[in-house]
Every structure is written in structure tokens, then in C-alpha cells.
């Protein structure tokens, strides 16, 4: 590795754009931007190509450092020295960097996608992603929190006495929740029901792989209730929650550059 190597890692997700700056493998800067606001801060240069015009945003501050991108928008940004890597690879590398582990099952629950990735000997050996539906994702939790008049953080504190929710659809879940409210179900049970329904969608993906250690990442990994539900249901597997879990993809990007062959 070169001395004082600085690399930008960017995960251009569906809900948030996560940016990190790694210096010699250490995190020097982390920022996240709401996706639409981020794209508004870019100006269209050529059809299909974007350049960051807001100089307060990550790579625009120091455009001479290399940039590695992943996520939905990875191919749309133009930089002199840029690389794109597949999303699963970025998240697995980020989780390896943040845990120091080589064998684990990564469960990443993001804004609209959920993924379960099996890492053995430091390599991705298999993965599964959610089907076409955005249920069991951050978007679903945001919608449900809004309906209940809670912040996403508050919603994420309840796991006791979950009410049974049939629909985990990010859109139609709303009318079911209102129906339960009308029936007089207490708010904590409603919140717990919402959190539990996320787990129910993840559980079939989790059961497909066996691994002693389960690592949680993605924005939804900050939800304490979901952490609790996964721990209760994953026994005897050990469950780790990544610090800065929502940045795992961006960190993995920068990490890839530092360790590329």
C-alpha cells in the first residue's frame, strides 16, 4: 500500500448515498445524503452521466483521490479515477473490514433491498436477495413509522406483544395498520408487529445458510427491536451488529481499492 493513500468509497443506494474517506485503511470521514437530495446536488452533464457540483459533498472536496462506487447509481457518476464494484462484494468486504472476521453470514437490510450473504474464508460463496417486493426493508419501516406518528428510531424500540400483521407490503401495510388502530390495539404492540413482520420476511433467507456468526448491516440494523428479534430467533448463533452498519457498502468500496491486486 502506498503511503498516505486516500480513497473515497460511495454506496449510491435507493434511499441514501453513503460516502466514506479511508486513509491508509482508517476511516477519516463519513457522510450520508438523502438520495434524491444528492442527485439534485449533481448537474446532468451528458445523458446518463452525473457530476457532483455541490463542493461540500465528499469526492467533490478532493476529486483527485480515487473513487470506488457501488449501488444503484454506481455507473452514473463521472470521475477521472473511478471504479465500480458489485454490491454484494462491497458489503461483504465492508463487513470483513469492520469485524475482522473471515467466516460469517451477513444480513444487510437496506432501504429497498435485503440481502443475505455467506462469507467463507473471506470470500463470498453464495447470496440471496429479496424478491421484487420492498417489504422487509427500510422503506417499509419508514412508511409504518409515518402512519403511527413515530420516528423510525422510536418505532425500533418495541418488540413485546407484537400484533399479527398479514401484509408486509410497503404500501398496503398502511391500511392494515390503520385497521388495527381502529380496533384499539395499543401502539407499542403495533410497532412490535411492524418490526416482527420485517423479521418474518428475512427468516426464510436466513434459514437457507448455516453459519456460526450472523452479522447485521444496512440502515435497518440500527433498529433495536429487529436486533433483539433476530438474536432471539437465531440461537445458538452469535449475532453481531456492525458499528456504522449503514456504511458497510461504502467502506467495502474503499477497502477494495486499498487491497486490490
Amino acid at each position: 500500500m502506498e503511503a498516505h493513500e486516500l480513497v473515497w468509497g460511495m454506496d449510491l443506494g435507493s434511499r441514501e448515498v453513503k460516502i466514506v474517506l479511508l486513509e491508509n485503511g482508517d476511516i477519516r470521514q463519513m457522510e450520508s445524503h438523502e438520495t434524491i437530495a444528492f442527485y439534485r446536488a449533481c448537474r446532468q452533464v451528458d445523458p446518463g452521466k452525473l457530476r457532483i457540483m455541490d463542493e461540500t459533498i465528499g469526492p467533490a472536496q478532493n476529486p483527485c483521490y480515487p473513487v470506488v462506487t457501488t449501488g444503484y447509481g454506481r455507473n452514473s457518476l463521472t470521475f477521472e479515477n473511478s471504479h465500480q464494484i458489485p454490491e454484494i462484494m462491497a458489503h461483504a468486504l465492508g463487513a470483513r473490514y469492520l469485524t475482522g472476521l473471515s467466516d460469517f453470514l451477513l444480513v444487510d437490510i437496506g432501504g429497498q433491498d435485503s440481502k443475505v450473504v455467506l462469507v467463507e474464508n473471506g470470500k463470498v460463496v453464495d447470496f440471496i436477495m429479496n424478491d421484487k417486493c420492498a417489504a422487509s426493508s427500510g422503506r417499509y419501516l419508514e412508511n409504518m413509522a409515518r402512519v403511527l406518528g413515530f420516528s423510525v428510531e422510536e418505532l425500533g424500540r418495541y418488540y413485546r406483544d407484537p400484533v399479527e400483521l398479514d401484509s408486509t407490503c410497503a404500501i398496503f401495510g398502511e391500511s392494515e395498520l390503520i385497521g388495527k388502530l381502529v380496533e384499539g390495539v395499543p401502539l407499542p404492540s403495533l410497532c412490535a408487529g411492524v418490526n416482527f413482520s420485517v423479521f418474518r420476511r428475512i427468516a426464510p433467507m436466513l434459514s437457507r445458510f448455516s453459519s456460526e456468526i450472523v452479522v447485521l448491516s444496512g440502515g435497518v440494523s440500527r433498529n433495536e427491536a429487529i436486533q433483539h428479534i433476530i438474536r432471539e430467533n437465531c440461537k445458538p448463533r452469535q449475532v453481531l451488529v456492525l458499528p456504522h452498519g449503514q456504511f458497510a457498502g461504502a467502506i467495502g468500496c474503499a477497502h477494495w481499492y486499498t487491497h486490490r491486486v
Binding site: 454490491e87 462484494m89 463470498v124 436477495m129 424478491d131 437457507r208
Partner: protein, 330 residues
């Protein structure tokens, strides 16, 4: 020649020997403004959460003025059955055909006899037609072999020739001329580069750019399961028409398909499998069986409307190829 619409492979020999031109409406739908055809059916009241193939076939059958259709009442899906009932309301003549689930020889023979009778054809002329079509199928098998063994045919070209065997494009003579020309063209080609060899199983994809996307990522699809079945891979060994359609795997239980898939995965040295499923299709459930029965990485892709691959599917394909490259050390 008057046309007869088909929605899945049926004994083609009987249709052609009776003097009709078979038209596979799936292929016709994909060769037209497909998304527009789906929207047209939705305007007629077809539900949003219904297989897009059904909607496309409905619209294209009306647009092309198809006046008779074979209704496969067993061996395809119940949506197809309802679709043909819808078309019969529009005045389309319906000719039923059923594949017995357990591949019972007597029942299949009986079905064929009824089919022959309804089209006014004899066994002799149907068997003579089989001989004629088998000669073309054997040429298409050569294209398949030149895909996986010699590496000179692209995934899409392979898909195209195999899938066209379902109706021989309604005109076996001109289809054969096309196949001959293609075989001439490929004999001078160089082997195509590839790092990853993929198999594609399930119904043909509704995506228009799957094969080219895979190839741009250094992979190549060298096995098209159902399309290959359309070319009757086990034909030309002295079997009669009944036996030929008993060997054809698609309309029966999934286990015969799995046996065929496993055999081909080994022969073709496949690194990973794409299992394509259509949104709202019963085959979606068979993904569980595929994953339990096949000891290779499987990527399940779900397609809804016709068109180019969407961003979320692309992310999955890119990651899958990356994982396979890592596994292979490529």
C-alpha cells in the same frame, strides 16, 4: 396455409401434416411491440398481477386475427386455459390437447388420436412429417453443441434457434434454410471468450437483453433448458411420435426436468445456474425444489413485463457473476 395458434409446444407434426401453419404466440408476442400488447390487455381488464405472457398472447392473437388455437388443458398453466376461453368468446376455434401428468403412454396416444381427428390428419402423414422435422432438429442440435462444446455461438443465438423449434416459424422449409445459412456462418468463427459458464433454466426470459448483459460481464449462457426441450433433444433415435412427446420434459412433473438439468450441467461444465421465473407464475414455487436438488450456486431472477433488464435485476446478475468468478478463481 391457414394458421393455428399455439401457446406451448404441442405435436407440431400433426398441425403441419394437416396442412396448417403453427404459430407460437409467445414468439410472435416477443417479436412485436410487446409492452404495448401487455398494456392493451390491461385496458381490456386483464389484472395487473397476472403473467405478462398471458396478456401479450391475448392481444397478439387478436391483432394477428388468429382464428384457431390449441388449448393445452394439462401440462401448461390454468391461466392459459382461461386465456383460451377468453379468446373463444372472440370467436376463436379451440382445439383441446392435454399432456397426462404421469406421462401415461396410452393416455398420450389417445390425446394424439383425438388431435389427429380434430385436424383431419392420419398417423402415417404425421410420422412422415416427424421424419422431415427431425432432420431440421438435428441441425439445431448441432448449433446447440457448437454453443457449449466449441464456443462459437452466442447465448442469444442459441436461445433463438432452440426456441424457434416450437413452431419452426410456421414454415419448416424457410426455417431450415435459415439454420443452414447460420451453420455455414459459424463454422469459420473463433471461440468466444468466457470466464464463467452459465445454465439458464425455466421458461424463456421476458427480458430482451439478458444474454448480452451476461456476456458483457464475461459470462456465457451455454445451456438453455426449456428452449432446448423445444428442439426435442432426444429425437431421431427411431422413437414414435408418442414416445417423442413422452421424452419432452416441460409439460410433466418437475423431477424429469431436474434429471435432464443435472445431466446437462455436468456435460456442459456449468459454473452456476440462473433460474428464471415469471412473476405470478406457479413455476415460482419450483425454485425451492431446484435449490434442493442442484448442488451449484443458483440465482433466481424474476421477470414481469417485457423489456430491458431493470437496475435491481442487473445488480443481482453482476453480483452473481462476481461470486462465481471468485469461486472459480477466474
Amino acid at each position: 396455409m391457414p394458421k393455428i395458434g399455439i401457446t406451448t409446444t404441442v405435436p407440431l407434426e400433426i398441425i403441419l401434416a394437416a396442412g396448417y401453419a403453427p404459430v407460437d404466440l409467445n414468439n410472435l408476442f416477443m417479436s412485436r411491440d410487446s409492452l404495448h400488447l401487455v398494456h392493451q390487455a390491461e385496458i381490456q381488464g386483464f389484472p395487473r398481477n397476472l403473467c405478462a405472457w398471458i396478456k401479450g398472447i391475448y392481444s397478439v392473437a387478436l391483432q394477428e386475427g388468429i382464428s384457431q388455437m390449441v388449448a393445452v388443458t394439462q401440462g401448461d398453466c390454468s391461466n392459459t386455459q382461461a386465456l383460451i376461453e377468453m379468446l373463444s368468446l372472440e370467436g376463436v376455434r379451440v382445439i383441446p390437447f392435454a399432456y397426462p401428468y404421469d406421462r401415461d403412454e396410452e393416455l398420450l396416444r389417445l390425446q394424439m388420436e383425438r388431435f389427429l381427428k380434430s385436424l383431419g390428419c392420419s398417423w402415417e402423414s404425421a410420422l412422415a412429417m416427424k421424419e422431415r422435422l427431425d432432420a431440421i432438429r438435428l441441425k439445431v442440435h448441432r448449433i446447440d453443441r457448437m454453443t457449449w462444446d466449441e464456443g462459437v455461438v452466442s447465448g442469444f443465438e442459441n436461445h433463438y434457434y432452440q426456441v424457434s423449434c416450437s413452431d419452426m416459424q410456421g414454415d419448416p422449409e424457410s426455417f431450415e434454410a435459415q439454420v443452414d445459412q447460420f451453420l455455414d456462418e459459424i463454422c469459420t468463427r473463433e471461440r468466444m471468450p468466457e470466464k464463467i459458464r452459465l445454465g439458464f433454466i425455466g421458461v424463456p426470459p421476458i427480458f430482451t437483453d439478458l444474454y448480452s448483459l451476461v456476456e458483457s460481464l464475461e459470462g456465457r449462457i451455454v445451456f438453455n433448458e426449456v428452449q432446448r426441450q423445444f428442439s426435442m433433444p432426444a429425437c431421431g433415435q427411431g422413437e414414435d411420435l408418442v414416445e417423442q412427446y413422452r421424452r419432452y420434459t416441460y409439460p410433466y412433473d418437475v423431477f424429469a426436468r431436474i434429471a435432464d438439468i443435472r445431466e446437462q450441467l455436468a456435460v456442459r461444465r456449468i459454473d452456476g445456474l440462473i433460474h428464471y421465473v415469471q412473476s405470478f407464475c406457479f413455476h415460482r414455487l419450483e425454485d425451492l425444489i431446484v435449490r434442493k436438488s442442484i448442488n451449484l450456486p443458483v440465482l433466481t431472477l424474476e421477470g414481469d413485463n417485457p423489456g430491458r433488464i431493470d437496475a435491481r435485476t442487473r445488480i443481482r446478475i453482476e453480483s452473481f457473476l462476481q461470486v462465481l468468478k471468485e469461486r472459480k478463481g477466474a
